[in-house]
């Protein structure tokens, strides 16, 4: 029931007194109203803007946030008001909904922001009043279309190939996106060139050349240089056939490919040649064959792979199909009407051109499209009158659907431009995301090397400079993960350098590009870990590693700042065990598994001798225990 009706309920109930004298049975007991009837004013503070309303107003819609007990979650005891950290401008509309029962859509707001607010307050968009519903729907549809485009652009084929793609997938990619590889680009231009050559050859073939010696008649060039043209045609067709077969091979779904428009055009473009080869030099059959050659002109449509404008045009025509259909239909109607009229008007004239109604069709079409060849002209007065009406109406009928088609074209064209812009921005966006990720990692590594986990009384001020508690906690979480897996985070630079020096040092011929990480597992680091382990076994007290040979490029100075300094901070004793058996194995979230110091304990004090550039690329080694400060 609508909200406002509730206020009339007491009236309806009071009016029930009128039934009492007529009632056959006794009336039932009324429901006991436990709730107090007092109405109170609620204070709602939305980002500083204070709203006040009756409690009853909000209770009208009990399945929204403000009408249910859900708002208690937002109640602020100190100020005795409900505080929402949301947009105060939008809240005005929300509150109006409670007051009037109709939700209005503010036109200047972003549709998505509005939707989010509605979702937050638990209001279903269906309740938008009629006055604003259409606008809301339109904006929403437009937004959805745009989002769909965006997701399509994201999944665009500009994304790098997955590493394990077969040659077939790569071939298909090269065909669809020629600018991904040089070979593909070359092939793309070559096919374009040959399409042009083939079309020009078709055209030039029919131009009359100078006749052969001793003959008067002008010959079309095609027959004069028939061998040359035949060779050119063969070459073009060979290339087209090759391209088509390659595409067919590489297509992920061959059935779908064969049904696509472009493939049909390809087939139609090369079929006449093959049919011509097969067909014998028969006089009557070759007549039909000559007409087949007209299909060679379809090769020009192959250009649509190369030209986006052509594709847009084709797509426009497809999407305006209904408008075009209407145009055709109305024209046909008009043609039939006028042709009939003209025929009967001109019937009496001697030697008239209007021999039949179909014959008048030609006149009607020529007149309606304002061509006016003048090969058929009415002679009678009636004919002339109807002829003029015909030409006037022709202008009108044709002018009507054209703007619709034009606006469609414009919309699709802009859409395409926007897709191109999106693709360009994608690269920037991806780069930014990658940078952000690296930033987080670097922050974490820096945090670790500054020994942020150690609760050093004296240095606490220094260490915790400019870091929010969120960052601390996040770093703690990452550190927990490291402890769980007993591996550490490094950044890409260090990692690639590490693996490069490893493989160089041990003369493995494996390529060390980052893309082939999967291969570089076994030989890369286990040997080094063993070496370090062995080295540590021989050194108990702090050994300053001046120059670690493998890490020359990194110029890392490692001192194992002894466990002594840390032992005071946590009760566990650390024995430098080198076997990696006793690892952690408990719930990853809850507990920090602390391996009993099996990994070598080295800290990296910020040594000034190291060139500043490579500081961050240092790989920090595991701290063996973690003291948890109260984070």
């Amino acid at each position: 029931m609508a909200a406002g009706v509730a206020t009339w309920l007491p009236f309806a109930r009071a009016a029930a007194v009128g039934w009492l004298p007529l009632a056959k049975k006794t009336m039932p007991k009324p429901p006991v109203d436990k709730k107090s009837r007092n109405d109170e004013i609620l204070f709602v503070n939305v980002s500083g803007l204070r709203f006040q309303t009756w409690k009853n107003t909000l209770d009208r819609y009990p399945d929204t946030l403000l009408g249910s007990s859900e708002k208690e979650f937002f109640f602020n005891e100190d100020t005795q008001e409900y505080f929402f950290d949301r947009d105060p401008e939008m809240f005005r509309h929300i509150l109006n909904f409670y007051r009037t029962g109709k939700l209005h859509y503010p036109r200047q707001e972003c549709i998505q922001a509005f939707d989010e607010e509605l979702a937050f307050y638990g209001i279903v968009p269906d309740i938008i009043g009629d006055c604003c519903m259409e606008e809301y729907r339109d904006r929403k549809k437009e937004n959805q279309e745009r989002l769909a485009e965006d997701t399509e652009a994201e999944m665009a084929t500009d994304t790098p190939l997955p590493p394990h793609s077969t040659s077939r997938e790569r071939l298909w990619r090269a065909f669809e996106n020629p600018h991904t590889s040089t070979m593909a680009l070359v092939f793309y231009y070559v096919t374009g060139f040959f399409i042009a050559v083939s079309v020009i050859a078709n055209v030039v073939e029919t131009v009359p050349c100078r006749p052969l010696k001793g003959s008067k008649k002008d010959l079309p060039c095609g027959e004069k240089y028939s061998l040359a043209f035949f060779c050119m045609d063969t070459a073009c067709v060979l290339i087209f056939t090759f391209e088509y077969l390659m595409r067919l091979f590489a297509a992920p779904s061959r059935c779908k490919f064969m049904r696509s428009v472009m493939s049909v055009i390809d087939v139609v473009a090369i079929m006449p040649y093959y049919i011509g080869l097969v067909m014998p030099e028969n006089e009557d059959v070759s007549g039909a064959f000559v007409t087949l050659r007209v299909f060679r002109v379809f090769r020009i449509f192959k250009f649509s792979r190369h030209s986006q404008g052509l594709r847009i045009l084709g797509y426009t025509l497809k999407s305006c199909a209904s408008e075009l259909g209407f145009l055709l239909f109305s024209l046909t109607m008009a043609i039939i009407i006028f042709a009939t009229v003209m025929f009967y008007a001109e019937k009496g004239t001697k030697g008239t051109n209007f021999t039949s109604i179909p014959a008048s069709f030609w006149y009607t079409i020529v007149t309606m499209t304002t061509l006016g060849y003048g090969d058929m002209v009415p002679n009678t007065i009636a004919g002339k009158i109807f002829g003029s009406i015909c030409s006037l109406s022709g202008v009108l009928v044709i002018a009507l659907p054209v703007p619709v088609i034009v606006s469609n074209f414009s919309r699709i064209y802009h859409q395409n431009q926007r897709a191109d812009k999106m693709r360009a921005q994608q690269k920037v966006r991806l780069a930014r995301i990658r940078l952000a990720k690296k930033g987080t990692t670097n922050a974490f590594l820096q945090y670790k090397e500054e020994g942020g986990f150690q609760f050093r009384e004296s240095d606490s001020a220094l260490c915790l400079k400019n870091r929010s508690s969120f960052e601390h906690q996040h770093h703690h979480l990452l550190h927990c993960l490291e402890k769980t897996t007993n591996h550490e985070f490094t950044d890409e630079l260090t990692f690639s350098e590490m693996c490069m020096t490893e493989s160089v040092g041990y003369r493995t011929s494996r390529s060390t590009s980052i893309s082939s990480q999967q291969g570089v597992t076994t030989s890369c680091c286990p040997r080094r870990a063993k070496r370090r382990a062995i080295r540590l076994a021989n050194s108990t007290v702090s050994v300053s590693r001046g120059s670690v040979q493998e890490l020359d490029t990194l110029q890392v100075h490692k001192t194992s700042a002894g466990p002594q300094s840390r032992s005071s901070l946590n009760a566990r004793t650390e024995d430098l065990k080198l076997n990696c058996e006793d690892r952690d194995f408990t719930a990853a979230i809850i507990s920090i598994p602390t391996p009993p110091a099996n990994t070598p304990d080295e800290s990296l004090p910020p040594s000034p001798a190291i060139p500043g550039i490579l500081r961050n690329s240092r790989s920090s080694f595991t701290h063996e225990t973690v003291k948890i400060s109260s984070l």
């Binding site: 729907r137 209904s322 259909g325 109305s330 490291e482 591996h487 590490m498 194995f585 920090s620």
Partner: protein
């Protein structure tokens, strides 16, 4: 056979309609149905008092939790994709989606595909304010992917692999193929007392309670809120 014929008829009818519309030029009617599908789920949590009674959080804490929750998920429930997205933001280097999937299943106690605020808060209550027994129980539940009461080696391998996935590839030392498997072996060596190839809840709890490190680290996240 009749269904085939019915389908054929429907297709023909649709085609005839399309042709008719094309010829007479009626413009496309706006497809009204799909537009305003009510964003399906709108969940309202239990009353504050009830939640206060059911969990070990104070009123203020519940309020803070709810505000954060509602901000991320205005509809009141988290579905798996949103959950994965949120979780992945904390581990930028690796791929957190598999582990987030397991985590989601652990939080979604009634297995309806979405985590409501109640599920969320119940889970947190156990993890942050529960007894050691409850926490271990929860961890066991997380590892037991098919919830049959036993952790098999395959389940453990899946879990451990997903944890290693979160590290990403730039780690020191480099992640080897057999590292997760080794980790599983160590785990089973420690936990599987009767060597029957599976770890039951009792073995798990017993073992963890006897392990000092684990017990101590259980206290770590008490004051997360």
């Amino acid at each position: 056979m009749s269904s085939c014929r019915k389908r054929c008829k429907r297709e023909i009818l649709k085609f005839a309609q399309y042709l008719f519309r094309l010829i007479t030029g009626t413009l496309n009617a706006d497809s009204v149905e799909d537009e305003l599908e009510l964003s399906a789920v709108r969940h309202r949590p239990e009353a504050l008092e009830l939640l206060e009674a059911q969990t070990r959080f104070s009123r203020k804490e519940l309020q803070i939790l709810y505000r954060g929750f509602k901000n991320e998920c205005p509809s009141g429930v988290v579905n798996e994709d949103t959950f994965k997205e949120i979780y992945a933001q904390f581990f930028p280097q690796g791929d957190a989606s598999t582990y987030a999937h397991f985590l989601f299943n652990a939080f979604d106690t009634d297995h309806n595909g979405s985590v409501s605020f109640e599920d969320f808060v119940m889970g947190l209550s156990i993890l942050l304010r529960g007894t050691v027994q409850e926490k271990l129980n929860w961890a066991f539940n997380l590892y037991d992917i098919n919830k049959d009461g036993y952790i098999t080696k395959e389940e453990m391998l899946d879990i451990i692999k997903s944890i290693y996935d979160m590290m990403g590839k730039c780690t020191y030392p480099t992640l080897k193929e057999e590292t997760p498997r080794q980790h599983v072996e160590i785990f089973f060596q420690k936990m599987d007392k009767n060597r029957d190839g599976v770890v039951t809840i009792d073995e798990f709890i017993d073992c963890c309670q006897n392990d000092e490190n684990i017990m101590r680290s259980m206290q770590l996240f008490e004051n997360v809120i």
